[in-house]
């Protein structure tokens, strides 16, 4: 495995040597601490990206097999996790299959189901149950940032407000339930409204990846009769760009598809770049589909603004220092031809864009990247 140091040749050499030289500290520990993940995905394939691929109906047969095997295996192991017939993972699985639902929202809906099915009599008990369910969800897929962030946010809400002495248990329970159901409901609409001012007539927008929020923004703009055109990157290997182009064409928006390598070529005729986010991190950067950082660098070098559309529940308490400081989230990549032997493939599904972002459109308002940390501090203090 090629690691960060330039002396990868030496590393490889060392890995081939017998381990007896350094008995106490052997080869690097498994990259992610998620043993559960190991059991599920022998190839570290990220469930989050699998879901997205499924939403976009890009399914390869061997992926499907693996996914089915994984779910089957997990369901077998399920009983020690929750001794009741109700399984939060199952709920979550059901919810997230819906393409219209964001991952975090699906998780919260699953937690809402936990509340409904709960037999607790006090807030404390309910809280503990929710915590356990939330931890299970998070452990099930450690690569999904919005899932973790959404769960944390909801748990924070529950803990913070559970101390209210004035209400009895049932009203508290229904309050929390109501919040869970409303979670993430109208954020897309708010974000779309906020960003309308930034799309002017005659502008050219470059879009990367199929983000529901970005799509909502463009749809609203089209409905408001704005004249603009969209350049879509192909978005290999998901080929999400093709799907987005199809949807936009349905709305009568002029769309042009580009291969990912053509971004720099077309950047001079672009007025702004819109991307979504898988997660927004504390440094003000975003984690998004592979290729976002590249586009941001090109846009910055040509003085084009890069706008990120993200709901506030995607704000995560992570602070990556570099690209490899994230949990590895791998996806299957289909090159069209079989990969030659002895050749490794970079299969990461996402990258980290630490800078060059102009503004973030969130349901909290239009923010600059440094405000993300402010919001997080206030939220988690």
């Amino acid at each position: 495995m090629w690691r960060r140091s330039a002396s990868f040749i030496l590393d490889k050499h060392q890995n081939n040597k017998p381990i007896s030289l350094t008995p106490s500290i052997g080869s690097p520990p498994p990259l992610s601490a998620s043993v559960a993940d190991e059991n599920l995905n022998p190839n570290h394939i990220s469930a989050y990206y699998q879901t997205r691929a499924a939403h976009h109906e890009i399914v390869t047969s061997d992926w499907l097999e693996q996914a089915q095997a994984a779910v089957r295996r997990y369901l077998d192991q399920d009983s020690p996790v929750s001794g009741r017939p109700f399984s939060v993972i199952e709920e979550f699985d059901n919810w997230r299959q819906q393409p219209a639902l964001a991952e975090a929202v699906a998780a919260i809906r699953a937690l809402a189901a936990v509340i409904r099915a709960s037999e607790a009599n006090t807030m404390m008990e309910l809280e503990i149950e929710l915590k356990k369910a939330s931890d299970t969800l998070k452990a099930w897929d450690t690569t999904s940032i919005s899932l973790t962030a959404g769960c944390d946010l909801f748990m924070r809400y529950v803990t913070r407000t559970s101390a209210l002495e004035s209400e009895d248990f049932n009203s508290a329970k229904s309050r929390v339930l109501g919040r869970a159901e409303k979670f993430g409901e109208i954020s897309n609409k708010i974000i779309a409204t906020l960003s309308q001012d930034f799309i002017f007539d005659g502008c050219t927008i470059l879009v990367h990846g199929f983000s529901r929020v970005v799509f909502e923004i463009l749809k609203t703009a089209a409905q408001n009769k704005k004249l603009f055109r969209v350049l879509c990157t192909e978005g290999r290997p998901d080929k999400t760009g093709v799907l987005l182009a199809k949807e936009l064409a349905k709305l009568d928006v002029p769309v042009k598809l580009l291969i990912d390598s053509a971004v720099a070529y077309c950047m001079d005729e672009v007025d702004m770049v819109f991307v979504g986010a898988d997660g927004v991190v504390e440094s003000g950067g975003v984690i998004n589909m592979m290729g976002t950082y590249q586009i941001a660098i090109v846009a910055h070098s040509m003085n084009k603004p890069v706008y990120v559309a993200a709901e506030s529940y995607k704000f995560a308490r992570l602070y990556p220092l570099d690209q490899k400081d994230l949990e590895p989230a791998l996806q299957p990549i289909d090159f069209g031809v079989s990969v030659p032997p002895k050749v490794e493939v970079e299969r990461s599904a996402r990258d980290y864009t630490p800078q060059f972002l102009t503004l973030l459109f969130t349901d909290l308002g239009v923010l600059t990247p440094s405000v993300v940390s402010d919001e997080l501090i206030q939220l988690y203090l």
């Binding site: 106490s24 504390e282 440094s283 220092l321 440094s370 940390s373 501090i377 206030q378 988690y380």
Partner: protein, 587 residues
């Protein structure tokens, strides 16, 4: 050089009789200051004669043109005071070194005649600096108007006073960009002294500017620690105190029995600071707080006095003693503010024993929550950033970083450490020893070699004395170099700093606020007699030694700051300061 000397000679005579002073009343009107406080009035009745302004006694390299304005160290905040006449100022400008444009303006809260005498006696050469209108309070603006009105009545002797821009209330911090030109805006400083109770409690106190000779002299009279000012000083740093090292200890030891108001624990801590036994932000702060705990324990309210006021006054006097031993670090300043806040918030109705117990437990809680627990939280966050095979660089001997490295080693992470060190303190050697004892792989080098070794470094961990509101890291001198070189090599720089060390002031450079160490230590290299070329040259007029202790690293070179609140970008420091203060007041 005539005009300044003439001016100089004329000044002392004015001190002799109050009448003469009154004559100069119109030339140097005293501005009635907003905070009028009976106790301070008493204090301000320092007679002119005590204000022996002996320029001869002070350093010969002092610019003769600098006749400083008298000031009362009691009073905290700056206000705009009319400057001295034009000609003197012009003269002063020509004679004094440009960088010494840092004249201090001190606002004194005094009743007019004695106050006036004082003020008049301190005819300061004020460089006219741009008034910061937006910073002056209403009272000060009123004062300014009075001055100008009075100035217009002045006789022909002195040219109309030029008001110097001065910085406002205690809310304004001492940090202004120090341009080595005559356009300095000063923050008046209330020098060491029991004046702290007059300051707004929540504002940190600016430091005394030491190029104001008369105030320095006054402070010296009141000083417990007798320090002689260094003779050969760099002009750019004249606003910082510099003393002959080694002169204080024997004197202090003999005076111990004479120091009535001094409490032994505080005295001991002061001595330890002076000798350098305790160094480092956390250590100094904890030592001081523990001394204060003892003070509180043995305290008993004198009759006719309230605990709040009296104890605050006592604490202030101890603090001024500690400042004389060694200027306060930001961590200590914040801790003192906390203690005074707690004292002020004690309800009057409490019994003395209850109040004392509450105070002691508050101090204990501060230490355990803000320092000890904070360090644990920092370690927890920071170890997640250390990956297998990392090469970590650290500079000096930061306590937080040491804890992080030791914990990471406990967790069996494989990494190695590069300790960078610098003369004269060679603090890195202490860290090196401790790391090696635990079995961590270390490399040791001096700061000259950082551009040579940084290519193999994966992360840089630095400590900080303080982080300021604009994200600037104020830390041991040399830190800025390390951070900049790392940034040039695209290596992430992580600063570990507890949140109690954050400060709301902003600093743009390392000059306006710093600490000067003993210049003699840089003139010789310990243990290498053969290369001590500078031996004996300490008093050469052409050679000045500068031993800075701190420097300021701009936020662009910092990747993240690890605090007990988590990992934050440097831009979030004002947010934490704001949240922290809210918590502070509620607690």
């Amino acid at each position: 050089m005539d005009p300044p000397s003439r001016f100089l000679h004329s000044v002392p005579t004015r001190f002799d009789s109050p009448d003469r002073l009154r004559f100069h009343h119109f030339s140097f009107p005293q501005l009635p200051l907003p905070r009028h406080d009976s106790s301070s009035a008493a204090a301000s009745a320092v007679s002119p004669s005590s204000f022996s302004y002996s320029t001869a006694a002070t350093s010969p390299t002092a610019s003769p043109g600098r006749v400083s304005r008298g000031s009362f160290s009691r009073f905290s905040f700056a206000s705009s005071l009319p400057g001295v006449g034009m000609d003197s100022m012009a003269a002063a400008t020509s004679s004094s070194v440009p960088a010494s444009g840092l004249t201090t303006v001190s606002v004194v809260n005094m009743p007019p005649p004695p106050g006036l005498s004082e003020k008049a006696s301190g005819v300061g050469v004020q460089k006219s600096s741009k008034p910061l209108k937006e910073k002056t309070t209403k009272a000060e603006r009123r004062a300014l108007q009075d001055a100008q009105r009075a100035a217009s009545k002045a006789e022909g002797g002195k040219a109309p006073l030029v008001s110097s821009g001065s910085v406002a209330s205690a809310n304004v911090k001492a940090a202004k960009p120090a341009k080595p030109s005559s356009q300095e805006n000063d923050v008046a400083v209330a020098a060491a002294g029991p004046s702290e109770k007059d300051r707004k409690k929540d504002a940190p106190h600016p430091r005394m500017q030491y190029d104001d000779e008369s105030r320095v002299v006054k402070a010296k009279r009141r000083a417990v620690v007798k320090q002689t000012e260094a003779k050969n000083r760099v002009e750019l740093f004249r606003h910082l105190p510099q003393y002959e090292h080694g002169t204080q200890l024997p004197d202090l030891e003999t005076k111990f029995s004479l120091l009535d108001p001094m409490y032994p624990a505080v005295y001991k801590v002061g001595l330890q600071y002076l000798s350098g036994d305790i160094s480092g932000g956390n250590a100094r702060c904890i030592a001081m707080l523990q001394a204060f705990q003892e003070v509180v324990k043995d305290y008993s309210t004198p009759p006719e006095k309230t605990l709040n006021r009296d104890l605050t006054a006592k604490i202030s006097s101890y603090v001024s003693f500690l400042i004389e031993c060694r200027p306060l670090s930001v961590s200590m300043g914040n801790a003192i503010r906390f203690v005074k806040n707690r004292i002020a918030q004690l309800p009057i109705t409490l019994f003395e024993s209850e109040a004392k117990a509450a105070l002691q437990s508050d101090i204990q809680r501060f230490i355990s929550e803000k320092i000890v627990a904070a360090d644990k939280a920092i370690v927890r966050h920071a170890v997640t950033k250390i990956r297998y095979g990392d090469v970590l660089l650290t500079y000096g001997s930061p306590s937080a970083v040491e804890m992080v490295l030791l914990q990471a080693h406990e967790l069996r992470k494989k990494f190695r450490v590069l300790v960078v060190d610098s003369l004269p303190k060679l603090e890195g050697q202490l860290l090196l020893r401790r790391l090696i004892k635990r079995g961590i792989d270390c490399t040791y080098t001096h700061i000259n070699a950082i551009s040579y070794i940084t290519h193999e470094v994966t992360k840089v961990f630095l400590g900080a004395s303080s982080v300021l509101s604009n994200g600037t890291v104020y830390s041991r001198v040399g830190t800025a170099c390390v951070a900049m070189v790392a940034s040039a090599f695209r290596v992430p720089v992580l600063v570990c700093c507890e949140a109690y060390k954050f400060h709301e002031r902003e600093q743009l450079d390392s000059i306006c606020s710093n600490e000067l160490g003993d210049p003699n230590v840089i003139s010789k290299v310990h243990g290498r007699g053969d290369i001590n070329y500078l031996d004996g040259l300490t008093n050469n007029a052409n050679l000045q030694f500068l031993n800075l202790m701190y420097d300021a690293t701009p936020s662009d070179y910092i990747s993240m700051i690890i605090t007990d609140y988590g990992m934050v970008p440097p831009t979030s420091v004002p947010v934490i300061v704001r949240e922290y203060q809210k918590e502070h007041l509620l607690v």
